[in-house]
């Protein structure tokens, strides 16, 4: 006789071998969770770049989902439930389990071979010694059960075993009181051309769902009520996918065909992959021979009147630096995307980091200002990408868009807009002057923005280049005063972007008080949670998360001064801190984690509390 327990939120980690289809299981469960109205956040952890041998620790692939009836800001720091398909998967994830967490293990993944591959000592077996003491351990012979369930299918064991993950999924659906229909639908679309596989998977799914009838450990089921999400249309989305949509939306809304020139690099590659699928939106993608060619091709496309975009990660951004300078001189629209990863050098390619901020701001020769915007969550990539394009086009400047590996691969529900409700981006093309007035390519409006003169337009022939230009005419000029004027003009142009971005508002918490949590990029979730926790403890705390890193919103300084202390958590060695200190001459407390992984709620919470204790003194 099973009882039903209500939970406000749950963190589940499904882990197994790269071959076990954990990512698919995760995405199905996510889809179902979303449809059942919970708020959620997910994060996959793939094995490091090289495919490691089956069964080894290096080969473990996992999928983490945090869902709840309350607002969910992060994929969660520790797990309530772990599904471990083999010994390696258990070994890797054990350290992140909450006290008393439930562990569902596939006994069949713990034979001597698996244990050896997972580098357990001879004779050591976590299922038999006291390793799992204090956890609710549910051992199931998942492989056997699956084969059993599929005995009537004329499929080899290898193929049957592929359905293991569906059996697990079936069980999870039962455990969380979910209907089967949604996943059935997913399966049907995915395997529409493979009827037997489809049936086998459904069968395994059912078997898992009905395990409870036979396994008496299964005493309790859980319900997580729908979250109170705003009314509207939702979908679940990953960061790089949202970024792709933002670019395409900007292309449509500006009427400029999208050109994406890129060279593959983790974790930016799938932006190229995704955009390449959307040729029917007039998107042109170009896999260049290297990052330099990638950005230069985008410059050429922008020069030709397209919305030129290039994307990469840290090492690639370094290679693009010289060409960014050219774009700054040309004063044409260009968006440079940096999906940051662990550095320096090749660093930790599959891990996340926020350590390219200073490079984005300063990593070019000469006085070379560019607007910099950052995305703060998977779904926010849509807005951020759109905003980067808007600034690039309306201010005739290259713009850097910062994302990171955590955002890129993470997912969350997104209340998406109607195309019709997305604002238009109007473009200012130059036109030939009347009655013989000569065309001045570097004539500017009051925001220091020049007009876009596209090759092929009659009467606007002119020459541009990387040498300093004479004001107005754009001719090469070595005149000293002109150089200073142009340097200042390019700077002012970028600073004036601040007139066209909203003033900074509090992302949560109070307008003033003891502590301001100031963040940017992928720390958004943890900053939110921590700020709320601190408020619950009665502290006067606010959270501001920066979309615009250059220029800053005009009122940022005022906000900073309204708080006793400023805490800047970053997944780097304190880069935003440097910029804030320089701009506002204010002291900041920095919390830096440089481990290739997100900052957890509790570590930041503890740090922040200590700060405020010190306040009281």
């Amino acid at each position: 006789m099973t009882q039903t327990v209500e939970k406000t939120d749950v963190v589940i980690k499904i882990a197994g071998d790269s071959g076990d289809g954990m990512q698919l299981t995760g995405s199905f469960f996510t889809g179902d969770t979303a449809l059942s109205g919970n708020d959620l956040a997910t994060f996959p952890d793939f094995p490091a770049e090289i495919r490691a041998p089956v069964g080894t620790v290096a080969g473990v692939s996992g999928f983490q989902i945090h869902f709840g009836s309350r607002m969910i800001h992060t994929p969660g720091d520790a797990f309530d439930v772990l599904v471990a398909m083999n010994a390696a998967a258990l070994k890797v994830n054990l350290p992140l389990l909450k006290k008393g967490a439930a562990i569902i293990v596939n006994e069949d993944g713990f034979d001597s071979k698996n244990l050896r591959l997972a580098k357990y000592e001879d004779g050591e077996n976590p299922l038999e010694d006291n390793t799992l003491e204090g956890f609710e351990v549910i051992k199931l012979p998942i492989t056997k059960l699956t084969r059993e369930a599929l005995k009537d299918f004329d499929l080899g064991n290898k193929e049957k075993d592929r359905s293991k993950n569906m059996l697990v999924l079936g069980y999870l659906l039962w455990r969380y009181n979910r209907p089967l229909e949604v996943v059935e639908k997913f399966l049907t679309t995915k395997f529409k051309n493979k009827p037997t596989i489809l049936e086998a998977n459904k069968m395994a799914l059912y078997a898992g769902y009905h395990l409870a009838d036979t396994v008496e450990e299964f005493t309790s089921r859980y319900v997580v009520k729908p979250a109170r999400l705003e009314k509207g249309k939702y979908r679940n989305i990953m960061g790089n996918d949202a970024l792709i949509l933002g670019l395409i939306a900007a292309s449509r809304k500006s009427g400029l065909p999208l050109f994406y020139g890129s060279y593959p690099i983790t974790p930016a590659s799938n932006i190229l992959h995704g955009l390449a699928k959307h040729k029917n939106f007039g998107v042109k993608t170009f896999q260049a021979e290297d990052e330099i060619a990638a950005i230069c091709s985008a410059i050429g496309a922008s020069y030709g009147g397209h919305l030129g975009v290039t994307g990469t990660s840290g090492p690639g951004l370094a290679l693009k630096a010289e060409a960014m300078g050219l774009a700054v001189m040309l004063e044409i629209p260009l968006v440079i995307i940096d999906v940051q990863r662990g550095g320096p050098s090749t660093g930790l390619p599959t891990k996340t980091e926020q350590s390219d901020l200073l490079q984005a701001l300063y990593g070019r020769n000469g006085e070379c200002p560019m607007p910099v915007v950052a995305a703060s969550s998977p779904s926010d990539c849509f807005e951020a990408a759109f905003e980067a394009c808007r600034i690039a086009v309306q201010h005739m400047t290259p713009v850097i868009l910062l994302s990171d590996g955590y955002i890129a691969n993470g997912s969350e529900p997104w209340k998406f807009p109607k195309a019709a409700d997305i604002p238009a981006i109007e473009v200012q093309f130059a036109k030939a002057k009347e009655n013989g007035v000569p065309f001045m390519p570097y004539e500017r409006d009051e925001n220091r923005v020049r007009k876009w003169a596209i090759p092929g337009t009659e009467g606007l022939m002119h020459r541009v280049g990387g040498l300093e230009k004479e004001d107005l005419t754009g001719n090469v000029s070595y005149n000293p005063a002109n150089h200073q004027h142009m340097v200042k003009t390019r700077e002012t142009k970028v600073e004036k972007v601040a007139d066209f971005i909203p003033e900074q508002t509090m992302d949560t918490g109070s307008e003033s008080g003891e502590l301001l949590v100031l963040g940017w990029g992928s720390t958004f979730g943890v900053c939110q949670s921590v700020t709320k926790l601190l408020e619950q403890e009665g502290h006067k705390v606010g959270h501001v998360h920066l979309r615009h890193l250059r220029p800053f919103p005009k009122n940022l300084g005022t906000i900073l001064r309204r708080f006793d202390k400023i805490l800047i958590p970053e997944i780097n060695n304190g880069q935003l801190c440097k910029v804030i200190r320089d701009h506002f001459l204010v002291e900041v407390e920095q919390y830096n984690k440089i481990q290739g992984v997100p900052i957890t709620k509790y570590e930041l919470f503890d740090f922040a509390k200590k700060l405020m204790v010190n306040n009281e003194r």
């Binding site: 889809g31 979303a34 449809l35 997913f186 679309t189 999400l229 009314k231 509207g232 249309k233 939702y234 979908r235 679940n236 949509l245 395409i248 939306a249 449509r252 065909p257 050109f259 959307h278 040729k279 029917n280 939106f281 007039g282 998107v283 042109k284 170009f286 260049a288 021979e289 290297d290 060619a293 990638a294 230069c296 091709s297 985008a298 410059i299 050429g300 496309a301 922008s302 020069y303 030709g304 009147g305 397209h306 030129g308 010289e322 060409a323 300078g325 998406f416 090759p455 092929g456 009659e458 606007l460 022939m461 002119h462 020459r463 541009v464 280049g465 990387g466 040498l467 001719n475 090469v476």
Partner: protein, 346 residues
């Protein structure tokens, strides 16, 4: 490359001159090239606004400032990448790519080989003066071995790049060579380059009278030209020499010098130039020894060494964009944003 033009108002060379004063050293070979390009542009009859010149950095790369069309003086070595992007964005523009032996073959070498294999439809003019002019006279990848320059006071050590061989090795679809001092041939080669659809690689021997004066005089000056320069014409035998007394024949795939005066062999025994024969083009590319230092060197070939047809990258790209749009239908932004598994909260 070539793009047709509509309503026709005859243009003159001077219509393609800008108001900027030309800043090359007096006597620089670049002047001659500029003049011939302006002349050819006028003949081609494309409107000034339909043409774009893209260059890198170098004396030669100052070229766009002097041509009354659209132009970009980009960064060192990257013009091919910029031009590729421009071609993909707007395949209707006539694009000329101006580069030097340092810009195109040293720092720009990677873009060079990838441009050629992708075969974007544009004309690449490589001003080869076998020196870095703008930076005041360091040796370049095309400088002969053991050259004494600012950066190699005791002589350079590198084996030089053979631009024609490299272009063929990069599967170029049009490979030709000409010289600044033979304006008629230069003009003809510019026209041929423009007529070819695909990347037309034209190497132009250009005299840098300041840092490498006379580098090509053996090939360009009256006294020696006829014995050292071999002017190729499709379908014609390989003949050269004062009063056309020398020729080249093929013994298997080994080229052999022939003295026609001796009378044993005649024109009919000679190698007939076939622009479409890659195997033979690869042999011609190896006529690269210096007749000044090596008396039995083969003469240096000028003219169209190789030409073939291959789809241009930007054309297949546009075709794919169309095909996919046909197949999937013009993209709908709302559908795209909503994706497949949207839900509504009421």
């Amino acid at each position: 490359m070539s793009v047709a033009t509509t309503d026709h108002t005859p243009l003159k060379a001077k219509d393609f001159a800008t108001d900027q004063d030309v800043r090359w050293c007096p006597g620089c070979g670049d002047y001659s090239i500029l003049k011939q390009v302006q002349t050819v542009l006028a003949d081609l009859g494309k409107k000034p606004h339909e043409t774009v010149f893209i260059s890198g950095i170098g004396c030669s790369s100052r070229f766009p400032y002097y041509v009354e069309t659209y132009g970009m003086h980009s960064i060192h070595g990257r013009a091919p990448a910029v031009a590729s992007g421009l071609r993909m964005a707007n395949p209707d523009l006539g694009v000329w790519l101006i580069t030097g032996d340092g810009d195109g073959l040293s720092i720009g070498g990677n873009h060079f080989i990838h441009l050629l294999r992708r075969n974007f439809d544009l004309n690449m003019l490589l001003f080869n003066n076998q020196i870095y002019g703008l930076t005041k006279g360091q040796y370049s990848p095309t400088s002969e071995e053991n050259k004494r320059t600012a950066s190699t006071p005791f002589g350079s050590l590198d084996h030089p790049v053979n631009p024609i061989a490299l272009a063929l090795g990069s599967d170029a679809t049009f490979v030709a060579r000409t010289m600044d001092r033979d304006v008629k041939h230069l003009r003809e080669m510019l026209q041929r380059s423009d007529a070819h659809r695909g990347t037309s690689f034209l190497e132009i021997y250009q005299n840098c009278n300041i840092f490498n004066d006379g580098a090509f005089f053996t090939f360009t000056e009256k006294a020696t030209k006829s014995d050292t320069a071999l002017f190729l014409e499709n379908g014609q035998p390989l003949i050269f020499g004062k009063d056309a007394n020398k020729g080249i024949r093929l013994d298997g795939c080994k080229p052999v010098l022939v003295d026609l005066a001796a009378g044993e062999l005649t024109k009919d025994d000679l190698w007939i130039h076939d622009e479409s024969d890659l195997y033979k083009a690869q042999i011609l590319a190896r006529f690269f020894d210096d007749p000044a230092t090596n008396p039995n060197a083969f003469p240096r070939p000028f003219g169209v060494i190789y030409q073939t047809e291959r789809p241009c990258y930007e054309d297949v790209l546009s075709a794919q964009v169309h095909a996919v749009t046909e197949q999937l239908g013009e993209g709908d932004l709302d559908e795209l944003i909503a994706g497949r598994n949207a839900w509504e909260i009421k």
